[in-house]
Assembly symmetry: D2
Homo-oligomer: 134 residues x 4
């Protein structure tokens, strides 16, 4: 599991101090940085090898502007050419949102999905969501 902390920005806040729903995909993406590094250690844009196929975000509690948000990222499922990432965002100890994202391993030179290499796969297994391994 990866943990990432984010401080809501003033420009992401509406007048009553809540975070707009369109901001969450940005935060969840930031929280996947360490996961991206398994695929691309330098986060080099030239050798980017993932495509986002789908995300699903649930808004569970209002997010206020004045407190850190902590996002936990784990892997739900490792397929041949894709993975499903599961993330939960907490403020204080309250779960405020969750996300499920499908990322496809992609060979940009061929323009098509590719098998996730064994070395990467090994690293990914260490972040597999505990409930999924049982």
């Amino acid at each position: 599991m990866f943990e990432f902390k984010i401080l809501p920005r003033l420009s992401e806040t509406d007048g009553v101090g809540h975070i707009h729903n369109t901001i969450l995909p940005v935060w969840f993406e930031e929280a996947r940085r360490d996961l991206f590094k398994i695929f691309n250690p330098e986060l080099s844009l030239e050798s980017w090898n993932l495509i986002l196929r789908k995300y699903e975000i649930e808004f569970i509690n209002q997010i206020s502007h004045d407190k850190l948000v902590s996002i936990r990222t784990s892997i739900d499922k490792i397929g041949g050419k894709s993975i499903i990432v599961y993330q939960e965002a907490f403020q204080d100890i309250r779960l405020v949102a969750s996300a499920r994202t499908v990322l496809v391993y992609f060979d940009y030179s061929k323009g098509s999905p590719a098998e996730i290499p064994e070395l990467i796969r090994k690293d990914l297994y260490q972040h597999l969501h505990s409930e999924s391994t049982s």
Copy 2:
């Protein structure tokens, strides 16, 4: 069905001319404007009566920066206190993305979900996705 056209912004475009995945929730929200007006004819923020509970977005084809995107919005399901909205984004004639969004009718004065009034419900039925009515 509602139709809404949007021109991708230069600031939404990466260096190879594609639209970033975090932009789609913004576009789909804009495309729900006419739907919001059924609930709130003036789009008055003081009398806002909807809460976004969940969205699910699929990225089907790359979106380029130089052509209009046309978004079609219809209703998939009308429940007692919530609706499911279905949207498709097209560029030229290609489907580039789709979204399914759960909106809850909300009484902010009581802080709880509420039954969708009959008058609003009638209007909503006119935008029910055709396949869903069969």
Copy 3:
């Protein structure tokens, strides 16, 4: 002079219905599209030839979320390797914001500013702010 109309987005609005200050650079950039086409008719990112060196934005009146904003773009000054663009944003007939932007003509292959070609210069003169020509 170029004119560009923009409808404020729901996600750009704070809870009291005003537009956040960080959104204006995005709008003013969109309103420079026709000007960009003088330099780059297809708005092709591969042959982009301008660099933004500076902008200065004044916030004159509150911008509300529910009405079209009309942005007028003209050129204040045409230098050897750069231009100064002047823009005014109106809502109804009220001036709500203005911007002055310095754009440098740039040869990305050499990595340095370059002289604006005569053909482009001719086109630019037609959009020179009237007061500046007197």
Copy 4:
């Protein structure tokens, strides 16, 4: 002087790894948080007492996506009802951008600018840019 560190987001990056010009106002605003707290210790939106009147941003060097940006904030001038804030953004040891922002102390209940109270003024003086005090 206040110092604030920010990690560029993946969604703020174009395909060649540079940060888009429209992002800088967002970062500079975040870096003014500690300054805002002098006016409004809890950053409470209900008792917000500043209005942004103008900003001017210079883009000095390209900002890359993979390194922390450090923003230094000081005060250039303290007027009766307004202040001028000066900010510099560094990546590694390179100055990449600077901003000058005019903030007006504002009494929202009266809808007009107001004199900055003596207590706030005293705090502000401690962050006055050194060159300005000579």
